[in-house]
Symmetry: C2
Subunit: 233 residues, 2 copies
């Protein structure tokens, strides 16, 4: 099975082309306000590297969040378009699960953290001892202090922290959890789309693929525009 | 510190640009006999994505093998050229260590395996419980049967197998080791250059950087040309 998977939920976008169950090409790059200009050209670039065309893809997968509103919308819309045009199925996956997949068979639970701005983080805790991480604490948005209080109460073992939220709140985490916190080496703070292809494959094999219209972002909190609208009512 | 790291030891090449200790861009792609045509253009492509130039790099790093003779030579030569031209230091790293770094904090030892052709594998065993893997069995080349005999005698815990050698000899490994063998999910069978940048950073901080002339491939066995020359003597 051939899969095109993308993650555009953070300031680093990732694209993977999987051909016959093997990674043929993967790129992860800074988007820096240029995602819309870079995403399609880079998909074309990677398809050429992999020696395939968009018509060869059987399944399209995108991160549905949490993360950057605009980024997630752009990624989901791109995959919806590709799947609709080609009459193919699509699949969504969590950006936090994707991040946790950097730690296959890890000895400790993995806390994936993305900076949600406004002094909050998107967070989830996973058992990574299996091929696909098992959620221990579901995706949520909360102040990092509250997350750390919760982890301190419920977890005895060390916890591995990864993601841009772990970088942003490194000192706070170290101060609150001490030796209970293990920080990801920097290569493992970024999400890679090939792991999204693996998640998509599992979802597809479970018969849970979606039509393009069913692929929807999960924001966890209201957008800035919605908050402003409610505040002005 | 800014680092350009490349791995060209297998049929998938990987390039990473690390800026100020964070991954700015990474690409991993099939080379398929086109490495020499693809490597420099892709380095330029990633530098542009990262918003930096080659002159901004402080350190150049390449995989020195084991792996494809031609691939390793091409990667080492490229890094030698870049470092020499810019008056910068360079660092080499093992392609097998790079592969094992896909399993940070893994609960089990990790056996990195590359297909060495001629019914042999390049192999090494690592303890991945630290940021940089600790070798338990050093890089070597041997028939997979011999490797499995050795692992069966010395290892009690499950062993994680990764790399294109683990894919090629999947059935043999499963037959000989049974439940003692755990196979990497497919995203973790490919090496990613960002991990090479982390290895390079550790080497540099230990004061073990090299001049371009000192960066040399490690082949583990004689090349086809050398074998033929000796056989004809």
């Amino acid at each position: 099975m051939n899969i095109l998977a993308i993650d555009t939920s953070t300031s680093l976008a990732s694209i993977a082309i999987v051909v016959d169950g093997r990674t043929a090409a993967e790129a992860t790059f800074s988007t820096d306000r240029t995602l819309s200009a870079r995403l399609i050209p880079e998909i074309e670039h990677l398809l050429a590297f992999a020696g395939v065309t968009i018509a060869d893809m059987d399944l399209f997968a995108a991160s549905i969040g949490p993360g950057s509103f605009t980024g997630v919308r752009g990624g989901v819309a791109t995959v919806q378009g590709l799947a609709l045009a080609g009459g193919k199925a699509c699949v969504g996956f969590s950006s936090l699960t994707l991040l946790a997949m950097n730690f296959p068979l890890a000895a400790h639970p993995v806390c994936a953290l993305l900076d949600a701005r406004k002094s909050e983080v998107y967070a989830a805790l996973f058992d990574c001892s299996t091929a696909v991480p098992t959620p221990v604490m579901a995706d949520c948005v909360l102040p990092p202090e509250n997350l750390l209080d919760r982890l301190r109460e419920t977890t005895v073992n060390p916890v591995v922290f990864c993601g841009d939220g772990a970088v942003r709140y490194h000192d706070l985490i170290a101060e609150r959890l001490g030796a209970q916190a293990v920080f990801a080496p920097f290569p493992h703070n970024i999400a890679r789309a090939t792991n999204g292809a693996l998640l998509a494959l599992h979802t597809f094999r479970n018969g849970e693929e979606l039509t393009p219209a069913q692929l929807l972002p999960v924001y966890l909190r209201a957008s800035e525009a919605e908050i402003n609208r409610i505040a002005s009512m």
